[in-house]
């Protein structure tokens, strides 16, 4: 269980990979939203919530109907069947969405810079028995403003994609406390690195 709070240090069980990853994810989201100035896009969560509550509504309606109508009637069986199918369909859709579309994304957001809008999609993963935090940063650029009267032509790509792998031991101390400044410094480095590859 992580104890979180802006002023309190994040402390996890350092032998639990999931907790290590989650602590890093939370710190990353915190940094991206506040210091880096990205506005988080909640599209993935919202879509899953929508599908999920739709399924629950269908299940609830079916249960309500089944409670007030005798089971033996073919209509009751039909509507119960419909609600069961809708529920499990929504359940499957949520799982498929998370697996194929959301994948390992922990943060997607955008911010407006001098050159237009920059969208960032950050995914994180850990491999079994490998105490490394694998970051996958993708930046999309749009609406680049042409400099007026600039003679040099800088070729900029539409998007760029970088991966970084860091050992947890660089960020967590003996007691499992996350060193915020160390972590943020590294994140700044990764973001700058990714942005730099955009300008090649």
């Amino acid at each position: 269980m992580t104890t979180e709070g802006k002023d309190r240090a994040i402390k996890v069980d350092k032998s639990n990979m999931l907790e290590l990853k989650n602590a890093c994810d939370e710190a990353l989201k915190e940094y991206l939203e506040s210091t880096a100035g990205y506005r988080q896009s909640h599209r993935h969560t919202d879509i899953k919530l929508l599908i999920g509550y739709l399924g629950c509504a269908a299940a609830g309606a079916g249960s309500y109907y089944g409670y007030y109508h005798p089971f033996e009637l073919s209509e009751t069986k039909f509507w119960t069947f419909v609600s069961v199918v809708i529920y499990f369909l929504c359940n499957a859709l949520m799982t498929l969405y998370a697996y194929f579309i959301e994948k390992e994304t922990v943060f997607t957001g955008s911010k407006t810079t001098a050159n237009g809008t920059q969208t960032i999609t950050v995914g994180s993963s850990v491999k079994h028995y490998n105490p490394y935090y694998d970051l996958d940063i993708r930046m999309d650029f749009s609406g680049a403003r042409a400099g007026s009267g600039s003679s040099s032509v800088t070729k900029t790509k539409k998007w760029t994609h970088q991966q970084f792998s860091t050992a947890f031991r660089f960020w967590f101390d003996e007691d499992g406390v996350l060193a915020q400044d160390q972590f943020e410094a590294d994140i700044v480095k990764f973001l700058a690195n990714t942005e730099a590859t955009h300008l090649e």
Partner: protein, 171 residues
Amino acid sequence: MNLRQILSNSLNVLMMLFGVFMSYKAWGLYTNCESPLVVVLSESMEPAFARGDILFLSNPKKPIDIGEICVFKIPGRDIPIVHRVIDRHDSSKADSQFLLTKGDNNNVDDRGLYQELYTNRGKMWIEPKDIVGRVQGFLPYVGMFTIFMTDYPMLKYALLGAVGLLVFLYE
């Protein structure tokens, strides 16, 4: 905790609950039986079934045969009874049978039970429409959990509350 997080955590709990409930309903649809899972409450079917055994029920289309163990409800009474069919008469009308049941561990057949209510005076048989399901299999002992929950309702609420809280907080 903002609204989105509350909605997310609540959704997880709801999906879990509905997942169980919808699976139960799906099983009921598959077996054509409203309540495909029941717990034995009395000793009237010993030594076959003991108090606390879970029974798996279904309602196949074929007519009921002598020797089949059925769960039935006497019209006007809520409690389902698990007994064996010992006699049957098939009516010339389609889909109609007259059945007589008796618990293995009882000395008399169920006619006394059928006629317990004033409205059922003279009822000598039950019919397939009174049958909730026929026993296809059983799991011993596991049902004692349900019996505890019914005998001590506080346990039920305590357990539900604890589980709900745990799930909500640890998501």
